[in-house]
């Protein structure tokens, strides 16, 4: 599996995400780091990571400016051709701003920045990302965000539920997210956006490895595909 990670000014989880991809990769190949001003992707990329952070200082709306940067058109084309795209935290916000995922992430209901470990319930395993988990598994990932309050209109919520596209739900919602939604999948189940950070719990020295299975599942998906 070949992974690429997009870097925006203000991204701060880009290297963690690259390490997580590399660690899961059988060949131990480092992820390609791609600057936002690039207009195209290297050939042979299987998965693109949109990292967490505060791209463009969260100006205008979180992820809004990043979503219109030159590289994102290439990422949208890649996703529309069936490529895998994983957006974590600010990456999730960027993906909703591009329209690759529905809904929007709003200011936390309590208006506070939340930085803590949260329990999450795996709601579906019908996606490479979640294939190493069992449905109903409770995993613990850190969250660190000010705008993680997932919001979508009633029809969108209904569709997400009917199509089994809610990937992860909070056990105890910290941010007011509708229907406790922490992560959602695209229609083809290859684009995953999530507020919690699996890449930050990917090594025993960092406190746990709950997040590793997500990256492992992705790699297995390519091995068996």
């Amino acid at each position: 599996m070949r992974a690429a990670v997009i870097q925006f000014p203000g991204s701060n989880c880009d290297r963690d995400l690259a390490v997580a991809f590399q660690k899961a990769c059988e060949s131990n190949k480092p992820a390609e780091m791609i600057w936002h001003k690039e207009s195209g992707l290297p050939t042979g990329i299987d998965v693109i990571g949109i990292p967490g952070g505060f791209s463009f200082g969260d100006y205008l709306r979180c992820g809004a400016i990043a979503a219109r940067s030159p590289i994102m058109q290439a990422v949208v084309d890649f996703a529309n051709k069936g490529g895998y795209v994983l957006g974590i935290c600010n990456g999730f916000q960027v993906l909703t701003e591009t329209g690759l995922l529905p809904g929007a992430l709003m200011r936390n209901a309590g208006l506070k920045f939340i930085c803590k470990d949260v329990d999450l319930k795996v709601e579906t395993t019908n996606s490479a990302y979640l294939s190493q988990y069992q449905k109903g598994d409770i995993v613990t990932y850190p969250v660190a965000h000010h705008e993680g309050n997932y919001n979508a209109d009633a029809d969108t919520l209904k569709a997400l539920k009917a199509e089994d596209r809610v990937a992860l739900r909070y056990v105890d919602t910290p941010n007011g997210a509708m229907d406790d939604i922490a992560g959602i999948l695209s229609e083809n189940r290859r684009v995953l956006g999530m507020m919690p950070h699996p890449e930050r719990l990917n090594d025993t020295q960092l406190g746990g490895t709950d997040g590793h299975k997500l990256f492992q599942g992705l790699v297995e998906g390519f091995v068996t595909a």
Binding site: G103, A104, A109, N149
Partner: protein, 79 residues
Amino acid sequence: MIARVFVTLKSGVLDPQGEAVKHSLGALGFEGVDKVRQGKLIELQLEETDTNKAEAQVKDMCEKLLANTVIENYTIELS
């Protein structure tokens, strides 16, 4: 020509910042504030002098960047 774009949350969308401002006004003794909605004002100085063209241009900007129409509405004022 100056365009002023007002971006506000759609009416059904909860506005926690507006709620916090409302509570704070109440704590200061201001009575009779039933609802507070917070939004933003974006001011653009345009080269365009034709009102219709300017409005079309700014509307396009709103749809593509200035507002997230999933959760926000916008209005445009030209002067």
